[in-house]
Symmetry: C2
Subunit: 107 residues, 2 copies
């Protein structure tokens, strides 16, 4: 396989990753709704630690644990914001434009 | 579904995400090997822009584009490091221990 072939493979993987990340966001939203009703906090450090432990246990490489954790820390930051939007009721906000892509989320 | 059910679903999604991220890392390593032979640069801004455009096009929500891009910027940072390890020949480094998880990668 040459570089172009590997990139085609990466593009396929990316489409699946985008789909899985959206499924994860959907679940985070649902949990957000349930937390709103139950008046539970968004940030639950025990659950976050459990997620990171499971992710490490599922890791068969070649990604090193620290690399996977770097990615997961970002995924969980974003999911916490998705859940916050759900709880404070701003979930109907339209998808952001390209010009917003460099905006930092401060949580 | 209650919160525990949604978390079980998230755990399943995470196992698949870890698998897909590792497949992507594998492809990045292969590209790294080919780049080493061809003496090509690791950082290719045109390719990175193309990846981000495709990822946005594949996004059907509920993740907002800016959230997806925040995750992808981290994924691409990490993959660049994976590729760099491949090119400079440090890919045999063992997986990092838990104690390294907070280490920041400065590239």
């Amino acid at each position: 396989m040459d570089i172009a072939d590997w990139r085609t493979k990466i593009d396929e993987i990316d489409r699946k990753l985008v789909e899985m990340l959206n499924l994860r966001a959907e679940a985070a939203q649902e949990i957000g709704r349930l937390k709103r009703v139950a008046e539970m906090p968004i940030y639950e450090p025990d659950r976050e630690r459990a997620v990171l432990t499971q992710v490490q246990q599922a890791n068969r490489g070649p990604l090193q644990h620290r690399h996977l954790l770097q990615i997961y820390e970002r995924i969980m930051d974003v999911m916490r914001n998705v859940q916050k939007d759900e709880i404070v009721g701003t979930s109907e906000e339209p998808v952001a434009s390209d010009t917003e892509r460099d905006a930092e989320v401060q949580d």
